[in-house]
Symmetry: C2
Subunit: 332 residues, 2 copies
DNA sequence: CTCGGAAGCGAAAGCGGTTTCGCAAATCAC
DNA sequence: GTGATTTGCGAAACCGCTTTCGCTTCCGAG
């Protein structure tokens, strides 16, 4: 506790070498005989020496800290990515400095950028939302590597790792087809929502490839449970023999399920349901607690990759997509 | 971008004062004439000077970084607290360094502690789970302030801010009583789960105070949706005229709702339902998307308070509880 | 007019490492 | 055996800021 701290000079003195030799020995830099190196290492261990990270950062000019820019950190998807990134970076001794800003507001963001640069952060992770809004490009505003997570980048050259909405749509329909459904409908969010558009597009492709068409025109609305209820009610009235519904999100799926069951239909017997997000695992952590069949968009994988790419420094320009996974449960 | 960086010496030179004067002027420490101070400030602004945070941390011996210890960062509740803490600290220029460990595993934790100390962190936040397991005490293992969030602390002297499970139970029943329900049942998690116990206890108190008893013995099971289904089915068979169910969590509530509706009963007409967690807002962010009436345990508030208490340094020993809030929606 | 204290400022010593550079000894080519 | 390299190590500069301490100057008290 109150043990006074061992510095590198202490180690050097104890080992009978110079400060610089000790430094190089422990860092593995420069030419040092294997014998000396080992000797220094052993004395360091014996004394319980640990580099003062502050001094080290200062001397090296690298902070061991990654800046994270979020649009709204209270967004549940953002939280998942953020927590994953923090965990992954923490395991590698990297701290994170979070700036939660409304990215539309230039002043805010500019200030954040200045702060981050003053902190000499080693890199930047931008966590966006892959839905309604394109994330402005920050790449050129830092002199350190910048990587985007879960965004629709404004500049296609920005290094970005995100969900594959087209594949999500394809996967959903493929699964419904694979369990024998043919009269399939789709209820999803606002028509201008980018994720909703792409999911619908991917879904439509697979359907067309199978020589089928939607059982009813795609209904656009909101990501909400209530919308699921309303839209499902209207859908059932219009196409009573629909046998599967692809719901744009699990929230919508929840509402849909309630209405479908209330209409006396069996799920999945009469109508199969599949959602997107894998909420239940996001909420539960524990396994084996699934109810709604869904598609996992891979948020955690995005977080892991983003963190590791940044640390390894292999940032290739362009968008990299994470493969979605179908999570089979009780409803399809 | 490639603009070379302005240092404090530059400012001092430009302002025609010594380095030390410049430092003191900008920091507001020591005695400096108001004129000089202002003059230095202006030149600093004009030059666009920002302290090099690394040098500053080094000189001061404080890292502007808070260590965060989590038990399982992938736990959804932990994530909420973590994201809130990160946001709150980020707004005050504090980075976080996350160690996600299984707290039971001593080796892991000890290593984390050494790392954190080497980093000269300014404080520690321990995020636990307020349910099945007591969080070991770390307070004496650091020489910086330690605060617990959302934990059941092993040592009651540890500074802790957490959810008030007793109050949650009380609030749930009070609400059900206030809307006129009298035949109330409770379905909740494992009997050894601390949160489940306390919620049941608080609920029982209010019921007794109203001169009532449970419509059926409290059923303990799991935090799962499936448990909600099973338990509700059994409950309805046993007490067909139950008019309200207090569900230990929203997950349980979801399962319960499905079974209650399937039995032909109206919700909330015949049976009112109330859960705990406020999942929907945790998942949604947007407002106005509620379905299940529930109790918000105040995770975000816990995160905010923990962060601010730590920075302000007013850590009083003992447990501080966050007041739960009832969130009225469609089911009660 | 003198003296003690306070106010305002600067010189310089850290903080604890990393890194450049130079030097002596050892190794190599021929 | 000689000169050219290479190897192994230490001296010292440096990273940019904070902070102690001491030196003037100024002021008010007596």
């Amino acid at each position: 506790m109150a043990d006074q701290v061992i510095t590198l000079s202490d180690v050097a003195a104890e080992a009978g070498v110079s400060l610089s030799t000790a430094s190089k020995a422990l860092n593995g830099t420069d030419r040092i005989s294997e014998a000396t190196r080992e000797h220094v290492r052993l004395t360091a261990d014996r004394l319980g020496f640990r580099h003062n990270a502050l001094a080290r950062s200062f001397a090296r000019g690298r902070s061991q800290t990654i800046g994270v820019l979020t649009h709204r950190a209270s967004n549940p998807f953002t939280r998942v990515v953020l927590a994953t990134v923090a965990t992954e970076l923490g395991a590698k001794e990297q701290a994170i400095l979070l700036y939660d800003a409304r990215m539309e507001e230039q002043r805010d963001v500019t200030e954040s950028i200045l702060q981050l640069r003053a902190r000499r952060i080693d890199g930047v992770i931008v966590i966006g939302t892959s839905t309604s809004f394109r994330t402005p490009s920050f790449t050129s505003r830092f002199d350190v590597p910048v990587i985007n997570a879960f965004t629709v980048p404004e500049d296609p050259q920005d290094t970005t790792i995100t969900a594959d909405d087209l594949a999500i749509g394809r996967l959903a329909i493929s699964h419904l087809l694979s369990i024998g459904r043919r009269r399939i409908a789709h209820l999803t969010a606002e028509p201008h929502d980018i994720a909703a558009q792409r999911r619908a597009e991917g879904a439509g492709q697979v359907l067309a490839d199978a020589g089928l068409a939607w059982a009813a025109p795609v209904r656009f609305g909101h990501w909400r449970e209530e919308f699921g209820e309303q839209a499902a009610a209207a859908l059932l009235a219009e196409v009573p023999d629909v046998d599967a519904i692809f719901c744009g999100s699990d929230a919508i799926g929840r509402g849909v399920e309630r209405v479908v069951r209330a209409s006396g239909r069996q799920v999945p017997g009469d109508v199969a349901l599949i959602g997107v997000d894998n909420w239940e695992s996001l909420m539960h952590d524990q396994r084996g607690t699934r109810h709604l069949t869904t598609i996992d968009v891979g948020l955690e994988e995005i977080g892991r990759r983003v963190a590791n790419r940044l640390l390894e420094g292999d940032l290739e320009p362009g968008v990299e997509y994470v493969e979605p996974q179908v999570v089979i449960a009780d409803t399809a």
